[in-house]
């Protein structure tokens, strides 16, 4: 059923299914969970379940199992159903015009759907005007309309929006399950799948992005340099900053990798089984003894500071140099 297999063990999906079977689906739903946990697939599944043609001929068919083969299901899956509206941020925001268009669209009768579905992805990117414009329609939408908002966390949304929706949480995908999915659906080699699933922290899309960006090589290279760095001469640190700054696209990710590695160094002292880079467990355990705890934590702070500065448009090379100079293990 329509890519839902990957997330079928989400408690959220089970709840949606029971809402469908009981016929008590509210008019506004809020899906929260980090990216890549199946929020959009679930919203699409809902749209299909509400509109599947099969129920016309077989009224007793399980309401939570759309056929996936009728015209409605196929249109929804292809994203061309006229009554399944998708709203996504344009240039990092969802603007009020998009919401006005949505309000206008749902005020008319649906073209062919039994129940119209509006899916707002990344709802936390609605700017305040758009969010407020959403309120009235969210509270009392026209008949036969379902609005689904997707966001990472409720705290990223206006409280007035949250209070109007029924809230459904999507859990991070369990590590073993994620590895299975990677192997079965995306043809990743099993060992590699283990590494990726651990580092992706429960997000399928993150795992796939990591696969495409050759995560492991990158990480290993970074860690190697980092290990030399803390004891090495100043010149080497500045050189590291230069290397990092050269690749603007990957900079944010590189810093995240470094941070995660350092976090593992700290965590492995207390709870070795909770580290993220599991394949490097032996090395991390060894290294964590070499570094002093306060120093590692200070280095994490240094990385965070650098990230903040870069986000605030500082000269990234300078920010990185300041960061590497602070990375002293003494």
């Amino acid at each position: 059923m329509s890519g839902l297999d990957t997330i079928k063990d989400q408690p959220a999906v089970r709840r949606l299914e029971s809402l469908l079977r009981e016929g008590v689906l509210p008019h506004a739903l809020l899906f929260t969970g980090m990216e890549g946990t199946g929020k959009f697939s679930a919203a699409r599944m809902l749209a299909m379940a509400l509109n599947c043609r099969r129920y016309d001929s077989e009224p007793n068919h399980d309401r939570a199992r759309p056929c996936g083969a009728c015209s409605a299901c196929r249109k929804i899956r292809a994203g061309i159903h006229p009554d399944v509206l998708q709203i996504q941020p344009t240039r990092s925001f969802i603007r009020i015009d998009q919401i006005r268009d949505l309000i206008h669209a749902v005020s008319l009768k649906p073209y062919e759907a039994r129940c119209r579905v509006a899916i707002v992805s990344e709802a936390h990117r609605m700017n305040p005007e758009a969010g407020n414009a959403m309120l009235k329609i969210l509270e009392e939408p026209p008949e036969q309309t379902l609005i689904v908002l997707n966001a990472p966390q409720t705290s990223d949304l206006l409280p007035t929006i949250v209070s109007r929706c029924q809230h459904i949480r999507f859990h991070p995908i369990a590590r073993e399950r994620l590895a299975e999915i990677l192997v079965e659906k995306h043809g990743v080699a099993p060992e590699r799948a283990q590494v990726l699933s651990a580092a992706a922290e429960g997000s399928l899309s993150r795992a796939l992005a990591m696969r495409d960006a050759h995560f492991e090589q990158r990480r290993n290279a970074l860690i190697d340099i980092f290990d030399d760095l803390t004891q090495g001469p100043v010149a080497r640190r500045l050189a590291f900053a230069e290397i990092l700054a050269a690749d603007k696209e990957m900079l944010e990710k590189s810093l995240e990798i470094l941070k995660l590695y350092m976090r593992d160094l700290v965590v492995s002292r207390f709870q070795p089984q909770l580290i993220v880079n599991r394949d490097l467990a032996a090395r991390i355990e060894q290294d964590s003894r070499r570094h002093r705890l306060e120093n590692t934590m200070r280095m994490i702070e240094a990385v965070e500071r650098a990230q903040k500065r870069i986000r605030a448009n500082a000269n990234s090379r300078l920010a990185l140099e300041a960061m590497t100079l602070e990375m002293i293990d003494a």
Partner: protein
């Protein structure tokens, strides 16, 4: 989808049904009976407290065919029309999506026509805070003097965003947050109508999670009802609602207080795996530490901490084991780091690192304890049978000619009980110096502050007056009860008679300075205006560069 959520299904249809907003509903009912309803009303208050609902009820009450009456009939065409949202004379406008000046102009155009079939033409503008400034301004004239058949009702969660000129033209009604008890009671009645019987504890949990908003409470109840089918258990409820259960919060806070890093990491991992909001965890933890502090301070705990009885006991037990200083320290750090948690993309990492840092925190000592420790240390260094000398390094104070003190000198052990009298007949200043020496020997910190801040004013038969000035810190130190006791004891010992110590704040110092300054100014002015000076300037064709006072020159 014929399912109607509880918040809509049980939207109050008359004033009595509105929960916990009597101060608004009663006023409005009276206004209707007395025919004194203002033509522009503003309803403000937190989300889900009944602003839009009250606006609709009021519209019904005014337009009801059976008269304007405080109780709308809910049967006539007008009432039903308003309930269903298609009444011709009641315009419910979404201020957030119709926020431009264009829409307001359109509204003004329509205002002048008489209502189609009702008594009033009523405009309800919801989310009115989103109107643009030009839109607000375009509304001003109409709002002040609308035609007699027009009523405006505004509803907003953010009244501070509304221009003052609009506010002054409206009668404002502020809605309160609904207290947890009223929410619980209301939830119970609704459950009964829905033929459900959830237990008190679950409802209480929902009410607390709703944080004063009835709609939040009803949304949550909806959620619980739809996914539990039947009677939910309390444990299940917190899972359904995504509430971070109290146990996790308690465990995490104890782990932090006991500096158990492993436990901290395990709890965070657990919360993360359940897909719960880590930022919420942080906020809850912050509240928890606030509660701990309140419990530790121990006054009005019941009123200030919004928790059921047994949790309160647990809270107090947890607070028991730690000093208020340490709790405050943790709270302070959590509070300071709040922004970095709020804006991070990776709350997990930030939280882990911050809590680990907290776990490294050494409990701070209070200033009193620190000072005592310092004093003890100093005594050990300077004491040990040697003669007591003035506080080393206090600088600028040469050791006074210690005629009186030499009598009281000698081994420390002998001193500590009775060091005899200090001659108080001679110079006040000398006596004071000697006294300070004596205090400083036992209590260096207090002695130093005394030296810095206090002055002996009068030494009477029964009463000693001391004046204090200087900075707030030394003043506070001198005035502390314990230190006053020390001062009194030393004085009595030195004088050999019981005396009363009076400490008063200096006021003279500042005024004296000002007076002196005034005097100098005055003199300079006199000099400048003196005829001799004026003549001299004229004769020599010179000009006055500066006026110097003689004393200054002398110096």
């Amino acid at each position: 989808m014929s399912y109607l959520v509880l918040a809509r299904k049980y939207r109050p249809q008359c004033f009595e049904e509105v929960v916990s907003q009597e101060h608004v509903t009663r006023t409005l009912s009276h206004a209707i009976t007395a025919d004194r309803v203002a033509h522009a009303l503003l309803f403000s208050g937190p989300r889900g407290t009944g602003k839009t609902t009250v606006a609709r009820i009021l519209a019904k009450a005014l337009n009801c065919e059976k008269g304007p009456s405080p109780v709308p009939c809910n049967e006539c065409v007008s009432c039903i029309g308003i309930t269903e949202g298609h009444a011709v004379d009641v315009f419910e406008i979404d201020g957030a999506s119709n926020n431009g000046v264009e829409q307001v102009r359109e509204l003004r155009e329509n205002v002048k026509y008489l209502p189609a079939r009702s008594r009033f033409k009523i405009y309800i503008i919801d989310e009115v805070h989103m109107l643009s400034l030009p839109a607000f301004n375009a509304l001003l004239k109409t709002l002040e003097e609308p035609p007699s058949h027009v009523m405006f009702m505004f509803a907003t969660t953010e009244p501070h965003k509304i221009p003052i000129t609009i506010l002054s033209r409206c009668q404002r009604h502020d809605f309160r947050r609904i207290d947890a008890e009223s929410i619980t009671a209301h939830l119970k009645t609704i459950c009964r109508q829905e033929a459900m019987e959830p237990d008190e504890e679950s409802l209480w949990l929902i009410a607390r999670e709703a944080a004063g908003s009835m709609r939040d409470a009803l949304s949550l109840l909806d959620q619980v009802m739809t996914c539990s089918q039947g009677v939910p258990e309390p444990g299940q409820i917190s899972d359904i609602l995504g509430v971070i259960d109290r146990k996790a919060i308690f465990d995490l806070s104890s782990a932090i207080l006991e500096r158990d890093a492993a436990a901290i990491l395990r709890i965070i991992d657990d919360v993360y795996d359940r897909g719960l909001n880590l930022k919420k965890l942080y906020a809850d933890l912050l509240t928890h530490f606030r509660n701990l502090l309140v419990a530790k301070l121990g006054r009005d705990v019941k009123k200030l901490v919004d928790l059921p009885g047994q949790e309160l006991t647990a809270l107090q037990q947890q607070a028991e084991a730690h000093t208020p200083m340490f709790l405050n320290q943790v709270f302070d750090m959590l509070y300071r780091e709040e922004a970095s948690v709020r804006y991070t993309v990776q709350p997990r990492l930030v939280l882990e690192m911050m809590f680990l840092r907290l776990a490294q925190l050494q409990p701070a000592l209070s200033i009193d304890v620190l000072i005592d420790k310092l004093d003890r240390l100093r005594k050990e260094m300077t004491g040990g049978g040697q003669k007591v000398s003035g506080p080393a390094g206090s600088g600028g104070h040469p050791p006074p000619e210690t005629d009186p003190l030499s009598g009281g000198g000698g081994p420390q052990e002998a001193e500590s009980r009775s060091r005899g009298r200090i001659d108080d007949s001679s110079d006040l200043h000398q006596f004071w110096e000697a006294l300070l020496e004596r205090i400083a020997a036992d209590h260096p910190a207090f002695g130093a502050s005394l030296r810095q801040a206090a002055r002996l004013l009068r030494l009477g038969e029964k009463r000693v007056e001391i004046e204090i000035q200087g900075n707030g810190f030394s003043r506070a130190l001198v005035q502390r009860r314990k230190n006053r006791g020390i001062l009194r004891d030393v004085l009595q010992e030195a004088l050999g008679r019981p005396v009363e110590v009076r400490i008063r704040a200096a006021e003279g110092a500042e005024t004296a300075k000002v007076e002196k300054k005034n005097e100098i100014e005055q003199r300079k002015r006199e000099a400048l205006n003196h005829p001799l000076v004026a003549d001299a300037v004229e004769i020599f064709d010179g000009k006055i560069v500066d006026v110097k006072l003689l004393q200054e020159v002398d110096k």
